[in-house]
């Protein structure tokens, strides 16, 4: 009982919330793309990897101030998202989902190999050491706080964009019915490109946050890709709010499970929960209504 109300447990809960923020940010873009275009970017974590390299080179090699580098990095990955849509997705829009999945899977390996050839296999990092935040007897990670803040800001901005702007409303409308909206004069091609840029931009934002705490290397996506995808599925693919909640549920199970038992058990419990939920709610925690 003491354990439940211990300072360690409180810290684990906070760590879970902060990890949840990071995962929610990563899931946001992937969910948006699926919700609107109905395509899963399996290579989403690799776009983040490209963004992390962008941050590394801008800040460390070219000495660009961090705020400017963040903007440039978000723009870079947004353009990459548009290019991905234009070159790979658009020709396959009406193809079977498996073909789309395989194509973005191909992009995943392409980006990993490209990064290996272009940047080498060495681990790189910004070398930034943020101060330690001590609250009472608890320690809170600054990079995680920043990630959490970025996730919240990203979520609010995406929400406002989708609900308060003409383009946002068009995106939501086209997400509901691709054919009808085209007949009503909405340029679906343009909307898809804008959505891809938005999804890419969110990946870029994720990259800016991740690079504060993680080394960048061509295979960094392996640590985040699968877990981001699982969170999206758990929340209901395409459901932004569902993905947001699923990220926190997943992260709390990992954080508390890891503290209560062996570290690996935290992940076992989280993935076990995912499997059980797939039986109980195959459409996700907040399944999209058809």
């Amino acid at each position: 009982m003491d354990f439940l109300f211990s300072i360690e447990m409180a810290e684990a809960v906070i760590n879970g919330i902060l990890l949840g923020g990071l995962l929610a940010l990563l899931a946001l873009g992937l969910n948006l793309i699926f919700g609107v275009i109905d395509v899963t970017w399996i290579c989403y974590a690799e776009l983040i990897m490209v963004g992390m390299y962008g941050m590394y080179f801008l800040v460390t090699v070219y000495g660009v101030p961090i705020p400017l580098a963040v903007i440039a990095c978000i723009a870079l990955v947004a353009v990459l998202g548009m290019a991905l849509h234009y070159i790979v997705i658009e020709p396959l829009l009406n193809a079977a989902p498996i073909n789309q999945l395989l194509a973005t899977g191909g992009v995943l390996f392409f980006l990993q190999s490209f990064a290996t050839v272009a940047f080498g296999i060495e681990f790189r990092n910004l070398g930034i050491r943020l101060p330690v935040l001590e609250v009472g007897d608890m320690f809170i990670s600054y990079p995680r706080l920043i990630a959490f803040g970025a996730a919240l800001v990203g979520m609010v901005l995406v929400y406002l964009f989708l609900t308060r702007t003409y383009t946002g409303i068009a995106i939501r409308a086209i997400a509901q019915d691709r054919q009808i909206m085209t007949l009503m004069g909405v340029d679906s091609r343009r909307i898809y490109l804008i959505t891809s840029a938005l999804g890419g931009g969110l990946a870029g934002l994720g990259a800016c946050v991740l690079v504060l705490q993680y080394d960048v290397h061509p295979f960094v996506g392996l640590s985040f890709g699968p877990i981001t995808f699982l969170i999206c599925v758990l929340g209901g693919l395409g459901n932004l709010i569902g993905g947001f909640i699923a990220a926190f549920v997943f992260a709390e199970i990992i954080a508390i499970g890891s503290l209560a038992s062996d570290l690996e058990w935290g992940y076992v419990l989280a993935f076990g929960f995912f499997i059980v939920m797939m039986f109980i709610r195959p459409g996700g925690l907040l399944a999209r209504r058809s």
């Binding site: 681990f123 070398g127 050491r129």
Partner: protein, 437 residues
């Protein structure tokens, strides 16, 4: 007419016979040893040290190729990328043996690859010379005939670090060993598990209080729960075995999580690549310890066989050519170079001259006859392989690791006493962000 046709036919046959004969002679004259070299050139393990081992092995292979081979045999190396994946390592080993028809395999960075690959290579009755992976599980109780390793085992790594701390418990920490609190954390692959097993054995032997022993996946995106547990356990010394991305993630999160302790002992792999540690952690890396075979550039050259120092210089020159601007030459490069050198000079030459060739049995017989005393290799230790019937058949019984401490961009050997270049700085000075308050 008939005569002319017969004459032409005879001439043609003669030319064909001469051509084939010449080709046959050329083939017979050009004896060649084909070596399949397997390391991780891509994937997370590549930057975690594998690529540096690959570089060391290549420097030595190229050295012997330039010399025209060994004992009349030309050397040809075929390099394969295990991509940081055990299944790829096994597939590549099989491909090299069955399709490329290599005579033997050399290399292997990751123990997770070594364990299954060694069994597969043994099945194919090919000779396997391990330059790097250290897990005891590769050889322990498997009685492999054709697999040999000059490296010390993971268990030895784990025992050595505990012996070192035990020897300093009273003098540096002011604590009786039974009062010293130690934590063992490790990646959960064959490598981390084996070193941790050695750590645990050593901790029990020394009488330490083991306050935490825990493994984690090296690709885990978050280790903050581990940091919280360690803070709760309040260890004096942390013994850590990991690859590179997980090491820097743990140490960053440890700093952010306010974890304080008195000493950190790492065990090779990521801890052996100082430049990367420094890049990730800056000055925080000061006063960390690392257990590894000695760096060939730090070995006491006066105690080595006289033919070895020029070779060490050659490896250093080639290393600098390949990686200009290196701060501290990584022990990894020297390790693979030295272990490859032992193969060429002690095993291959003996197999050719004494056992009549380069097949797996000849190489095996030659390996079992190697008897190098301390100072006989660039790594300082001797070589004598445990033979059939021994629980660790194929393991070099004379190998030992040393412990270095990183102080102000220099790596100083601090253990064992016979090799020590300076006294260890223990516990962390107050300037370290990890120093116990």
């Amino acid at each position: 007419m008939m005569k002319r046709t017969f004459g032409r036919l005879l001439g043609g046959v003669a030319i064909a016979a001469l051509t084939l004969g010449a080709a046959g002679i050329a083939q017979a004259q050009e004896k060649k040893l084909k070596i399949g070299v397997i390391y991780d050139y891509t994937g997370p393990l590549a930057g975690g040290g594998s690529e540096l081992h690959a570089l060391g092995a290549k420097i030595m292979i190229d050295h012997f190729i330039k010399q025209g081979g060994v004992g009349g045999y030309k050397i040809e190396a075929i390099y394969a990328d295990a991509q940081s994946k055990p299944d790829v390592a096994i597939n590549e080993a099989v491909r090299l043996v069955e399709q490329e028809k290599v005579d033997m395999l050399l290399g292997f960075f990751s123990s997770a690859q070594c364990v299954p690959a060694a069994a597969r290579v043994e099945q194919m009755k090919k000779f396997m010379w391990i330059t790097t992976c250290i897990s005891s599980a590769v050889l322990e109780n498997r009685n492999l005939k054709y697999v040999f390793r000059t490296q010390p085992s993971g268990r030895q790594f784990g025992l050595t670090s505990m012996e070192f701390i035990a020897a300093h418990s009273q003098s540096k920490f002011g604590k009786d060993p039974k009062d010293l609190r130690v934590a063992i954390i490790h990646e959960d692959g064959a490598y981390g598990v084996d070193v941790a097993k050695g750590n645990e054995e050593g901790a029990k032997k020394a009488g330490f209080q083991m306050v935490l022993k825990e493994g984690y996946a090296s690709t885990a995106p978050d280790l903050s729960a581990l940091v919280t547990k360690l803070r709760r356990a309040r260890p004096d010394v942390i013994f850590h075995t990991g690859y590179n991305p997980d090491i820097s993630l743990f140490l960053r999160q440890a700093r952010e999580g306010g974890l304080r302790f008195s000493a950190l002992v790492g065990h090779g792999a990521g801890y052996g690549v100082y430049d990367k540690l420094k890049e990730a952690l800056g000055k925080d890396v000061n006063h960390f310890f690392n257990v590894d075979p000695i760096s060939i550039w730090q070995a006491n050259q006066k105690a080595l066989d006289t033919k070895l120092p020029p070779l060490i210089a050659m490896v250093g020159t080639e290393y600098e050519k390949a990686r200009p601007g290196t701060t501290i030459k990584s022990a990894h490069v020297g390790m693979a170079a030295s272990n490859a050198y032992v193969f060429f000079t002690e095993v291959l030459s003996r197999a050719i001259s004494k056992h009549g060739g380069i097949d797996a049995d000849a190489l095996r017989k030659a390996a079992l006859e190697v008897d190098l005393q301390e100072g006989g290799t660039m790594l300082g230790f001797g070589v004598k392989f445990e033979g059939e019937g021994s629980p660790m058949a194929g393991q070099n019984a004379r190998a030992f690791p040393v412990i270095v401490q990183y102080i102000d961009d220099q790596a100083h050997i601090v253990w064992p006493k016979s090799q020590a270049q300076r006294e260890a700085v223990l516990p962390f000075p107050a300037t370290s962000p990890y120093a116990a308050k």
